[in-house]
Symmetry: C2
Subunit: 205 residues, 2 copies
């Protein structure tokens, strides 16, 4: 039995910084992390499984979840809702599992209001120049669109002040290593270990 709750780890950062790539790499090196499954109103694609890829919901169901506060965070993209169901995350945390959420900065701030005890990690590019290169590398957009994306990324970078940790995504390997270290270190934080501490002292009497 595990009496300790798991850690809620929120990985976020500006658009284009490489959150998805780092998260995919983490899945390989951190098999003990539980990856949150999102809810969506978009229809399942062939092969997608309920509760594995997504929790599939109707608009009515999703809106009821919003009303009942059953989502840790949510947003609407291209006519579909996407969000993080609170129950799955809470059940995993109660079972002592660490849960990783990879989300956009707006969603991360919603989570922070509900779970200030979460571990908030902000992924940053090694330089603005490198972020520009990554945004350019994504595809063929006009100068105006690129400038807009960069402006948005700059505004998102200012959100760094709201996070506990800043991880530079210089290489995916290094970023993963730092995130793993943060998770290990957070488990050693004295305030989180207080219950075990009380037990150890009682044992000595």
């Amino acid at each position: 039995m595990n009496a300790e709750k798991g850690l809620l780890i929120v990985l976020s950062g500006p658009s284009g910084v490489g959150k998805g790539t780092v998260c995919a790499a983490l899945r390989k090196v951190c098999p003990n992390l539980v990856y949150s499954v999102s809810a969506t109103t978009r229809p399942p694609r062939p092969g997608e499984q309920e509760g594995v890829n997504y929790f599939f919901k109707t608009r009515e169901e999703f809106e009821r979840m919003i009303e009942r506060g059953e989502l840790l965070e949510w947003a609407e993209y291209v006519g579909n809702y996407y969000g993080t169901p609170r129950r799955f995350v809470e059940e995993m945390l109660e079972a002592g599992k660490d849960v990783l959420l990879e989300i956009e900065v707006q969603g991360a701030m919603q989570v922070k209001r509900r779970y200030p005890e979460g571990v908030f990690i902000f992924l940053v590019p090694p330089s603005m120049e490198e972020l520009r290169r990554r945004i350019l590398g994504r595809g063929t957009e006009g100068d105006a669109a690129i400038t807009e994306r960069l402006e948005a990324a700059r505004a998102e970078l200012a959100m760094m002040a709201e996070y506990d940790y800043v991880v530079v995504n210089d290489t995916v390997e290094h970023a993963c290593e730092r995130i793993r270290a943060i998770v290990t270190a957070e488990h050693c934080r004295r305030d989180r270990l207080m219950p075990r501490y009380q037990k150890l002292l009682a044992e000595g009497k």
Copy 2:
């Protein structure tokens, strides 16, 4: 040039928990950490070397160092003085090096008053029974000294509340791994990275 100061990492814990063993193992796996060498009036144990394990001092020499303010912290423990020469530590931190101090709990609290920004790690035994075994296993002391050590260790365990991190010394390897992770994570802490953050934002303009 490194504009960032190094981290002062203070490793402490109750007598007999294995601070010395963990510290010796860290030396091998963390060549970038600078290890502060303590001064002491206790006689060398077999294999201990002057200037490597300790600076061995007479009581008169040690008291002169106290008077001159040459110690970052010092304490008298089971009839012997232990202390940390101040200048070396401060020079290394200014040069951007992380410095590890392995010290007794009384000394750690003195350092905390002077360096609240330090990283305070408390090493604990997996159980009180295991701590008793380790203290007995040393076999370098008489019964009275052992009883005294156990009583002191129990009182020292209560000091845990003053630390940032608690590391269970179940195996030396695991303890080292956790300490390395703590150092890595502390370097990622947002409040420590603020200067770099300001630079990154300015660069984007």
